[in-house]
Amino acid sequence: MVMKAIYVILFLIFAPFIGGLLDGIDRIISARMQRRKGPSIFQPFYDLGKLFSKEMIAVNNVQLLLNLSYLVILVIAGAMLFAGADLLMVLFILSTADMFLIMAASSDSSPYANMGASREMMQMMAYEPLTLLVAVGFYLTTGSFHVGTIIQQPVSAVLWMPGLLVGFMFTAAIKFRKSPFDLSTSHHAHQEMVKGITTEMSGTTLAIMNIAEYYEMVVILGIFFLFFVNSTWWSWIVALAICFVLFLMETLWDNISARLKWKTVLYGCWVVTLVAGGVNILILMLDK
């Protein structure tokens, strides 16, 4: 119980910092890949500080409310994950949180934000099946949806579910908002849709959205972590290292690929889900 509380508190306090640092690292590495110098590693925090200090302007009165709800519900999902609760529930709440983001974006009837919101829905539709299958995979491998049980297995779950790991790496790019799946918003300039889902967010509202993204990043990495961790202590270190490597791979992928059309994204994700995830689940079902 105490351990759980400690994990949750650690998550609540450090997740935004870890997320921000990862974002900073990501930006530097991207810059170096393009033979640029890149910003400071603390740039995301400077950005946040600036955003909070700006004047509050908004297009309506509900966007801030919805963004705050997005953040808080996402944090609840993360806290449940780190408290060792039911993985499937965590995923369900995660998508509920996303719903608030979509509502925030479409609450203003702005063409760009609405387009972003539609694409965000499409992306959710693309990644949702695989995330559910990942939870099912953990259930089949470890006999429980509970994160607390999953991390206490004698062998790492990845041995049983490599296909799901590949699939999750594929779809996690959507969650990290990385190219080639970065359809609903973009960290890169000059888009046909301005800033997509975040177009109408400014100052504090945007900062809240960014913090939420950092939390989400940590939650996704946390699920990656579950693939590798087992009851031995050193597996924690290995898992952390692998998570970091996976994150770097996402960065690499971001830089070497262009954005795809939505159809390719949707069908690509669904096919990968079916092939990598479905086959993996089938084998697990036959075997276990």
Binding site: E55, M56, I57, N60, L64, S69, A85, S109, M125, P129
Partner: protein, 629 residues
């Protein structure tokens, strides 16, 4: 008490034929619905104070049996008359076949006498749904039909007929869920089919007539399945008890009953009729085509589900259910007609329930019952709010509901609650989905797991885009006057409150209502959902209700400068317009995303019907061929 439950609505139905005064009719509807609800409450109280045991009633019913035979023949004649009038052949063949079969069986087969009615927890739950949701829909109808005929001058005003049918339908539903003898169930089953047929044809337009006959023949096909099941049970096993069907577990009668259940609940390949049924006035869509009549199909399947576990019939039923779940939810994406979306979503959710009952283990049946309850409440609420919106806006196109929260806030809130109830965590649908997923995994059915994984993603898509459309803060071009009447608001607010209470008291509902049902169907069972899960749910629920409220107050404290939305600087200070390249003013118009070319009905309907038919035919062949599984 039971005769009263059936008789009161039936008497009221007759009464409406003689009441031509609109006001008087309104009072009678209120009084009648009140009496029905009260009777149901008294009935339940008496049953619970009597120890909540399973009651088996009426072993000797010679006279009523004969009356029912007469009723069957009357229905057949009615169908033949109407079919001849509209030059349709298939309904006549099906109707004659099944009626002849049932009557022949009744007079020739030597059947062991047994109770004709049964009261247990599942029955009670269905009665509550019928009495309360049905009753309030009747109240809603009072206001709705006024508005409907105000808008649709071209439709002949046949309100007395409509109300008669509504109440007669309630009577038939009570009979259906209380019956235990197959012939009795069949009789009420046929009545609901015919009423549905008559109500779909209410407007008497060509489209309505065609759709009503489509609904009729599909339901009659199911009725034929039912009749075959009756004949088989009587001839081969000498019994007509529903419980005995489950106990004996012979595959062919089960398959025939499943066919009946699947046609009634509009599963693929029979889902066409439910879509066509949307031409009927909204109350009948709410009552028959989402809240109760289609539930009769899944009710039957839930009844027989203990016999479906792990056998061929169960596999076929659950495959068709799972397939329907995903295909219907995909087709719903491409719809912009609100009622069509609701119809597809009904089909898709019923598919999930059918899949659950096809697996036939405790967890899935638990989930199925839960889904049924939540679906009944939220879907009838959604239908009613769509109907009211249609009367107000003059359109039921989702595109026209842009910014409904500003234009008609009350309806938007009700619709929003309904939509949230259909798919958002942690409302009831989700917990059932969670449980269903777990049970599908446990039963080792990888196809169903995939179906639910993909299906929930597509479900999310069409609900979210609708919800987003409602919640747009868009200043309307023209204001509309909310013409929704008080009757309609009474019913809709009742549903909304029930929905919220159901969510808040989810653990209570689970323990006091759903657990006993599963226990009765399966004998002694463990608790399907552990208490820790339920508490987690409750915490989530509270947080999701509370978080936005708290955030509302926090965000209220911050001062925000309101500016126009970003449209490349060409909007004229007013978000509704922008300057086009000729310097003129253009309206801003935002449309949802329908993926028509990918998920359109045109592309998916035929292939999915073919696949489902193939599964069904192959299933029947295997069962008739006696392939053991």
């Amino acid at each position: 008490m039971i005769p009263l439950l059936i008789a009161i609505p039936a008497v009221l139905a007759v009464l409406f034929q003689f009441v031509r005064n609109e006001k008087a009719r309104g009072y009678i509807v209120y009084a009648g619905s009140g009496i029905i609800m009260l009777t149901t409450v008294i009935f339940i109280v008496r049953w619970v104070t009597g120890g909540a045991q399973t009651w088996m009633l009426y072993p000797e019913t010679e006279l009523i049996d004969h009356l029912m035979t007469a009723g069957d023949i009357f229905l057949m004649c009615l169908i033949i008359y109407l079919s001849v009038k509209h030059e349709k052949v298939i309904p006549i063949i099906l109707s004659v076949l099944q009626t002849a079969l049932v009557i022949y069986t009744e007079f020739t087969a030597d059947v062991a006498e047994g109770p004709h009615m049964m009261v247990d927890w599942l029955t009670i739950l269905m009665c509550v749904i019928i009495a309360f949701i049905g009753g309030f829909i009747c109240i809603y109808t009072v206001g709705y039909m006024k508005g409907y005929h105000h808008h649709h001058k071209e439709v002949e005003d046949r309100q007395p007929f409509f109300f008669s049918m509504l109440f007669l339908f309630l009577a038939a539903m009570f009979g259906l869920v209380l019956s235990q003898n197959l012939v009795w169930i069949y009789f009420f089953w046929e009545i609901t089919s015919v009423i549905s047929f008559l109500m779909i044809g209410y407007t008497k337009s060509d489209e309505a007539v065609n759709n009503s006959f489509c609904a009729l023949w599909m339901n009659l096909l199911g009725g034929l399945g039912f009749a075959v099941a009756i004949a088989l049970m009587a001839q081969l096993h000498g019994t007509l008890q529903l419980l005995e069907v489950v106990n004996i577990g012979a595959l062919l009668p089960l398959m025939c009953l499943s066919l009946a259940g699947m046609t009634k609940s509009a599963q693929l390949p029979f889902s066409t009729w439910l879509l066509g049924a949307m031409v009927a006035p909204t109350p009948s869509s709410a009552l028959l085509h989402s809240a109760t009549m289609v539930k009769a199909g899944v009710y039957l399947l839930i009844r027989i589900s203990p016999a479906l576990e792990g056998n061929l019939v169960g596999i076929i039923v659950s495959s068709i259910g799972g397939f329907t779940f995903i295909m219907a939810s995909m087709m719903a994406i491409a719809q912009n007609d609100a009622k069509k979306v609701l119809a597809f979503s009904t089909i898709s959710n019923l598919g999930l329930i059918v899949a659950c009952s096809g697996i036939g283990v405790e967890e899935t049946v638990w989930a199925a019952v839960f889904l049924m309850v939540f679906h009944a409440v939220s879907k009838s609420m959604l239908f009613q709010s769509v109907g009211a919106t249609e009367n107000t806006l003059g359109s039921r196109d989702i595109e026209d509901m842009h910014g409904l929260i500003i234009r008609v806030p009350k309806l938007a809130y009700i619709m929003g609650i309904g939509i949230a109830g259909m798919y958002l965590a942690p409302f009831g649908m989700l917990i059932s989905k969670w449980l269903a997923l777990k049970a599908f995994v446990d039963s080792g059915n990888v196809i169903l797991v995939l179906c639910i994984a993909y299906g929930s993603a597509t479900t999310m898509f069409y609900w979210t885009k609708w919800l987003a459309k409602l919640l747009c803060y868009h200043i309307p071009r023209d204001t509309v006057k909310d013409v929704t009447r008080k009757d309609e608001y009474i019913s809709m607010s009742f549903h909304a409150i029930v929905m919220l209470l159901l969510c808040l008291f989810l653990p209570v509902v689970a323990i006091t209502v759903v657990n006993p049902i599963v226990r009765e169907l399966f004998g002694n069972t463990h608790d399907v959902l552990s208490m820790s899960v339920l508490t987690t749910m409750a915490i989530m629920l509270v947080s999701i209700f509370i978080v936005p409220v708290v955030m509302f107050f926090i965000s209220r404290r911050s001062h925000q400068e309101l500016v126009p939305i970003y449209m490349n600087g060409v909007n004229e200070g007013d978000n509704r317009f922008f300057t086009n390249s000729f310097g003129g003013k253009d309206h801003l118009y935002l449309s949802n995303w329908y993926l028509r070319f990918e998920f359109g009905r045109r592309h998916l309907r035929i292939p999915s019907i073919i696949v489902a038919t193939a599964v069904l035919v192959v299933g029947f062949c295997l069962v008739i061929g006696g392939v053991s599984w």
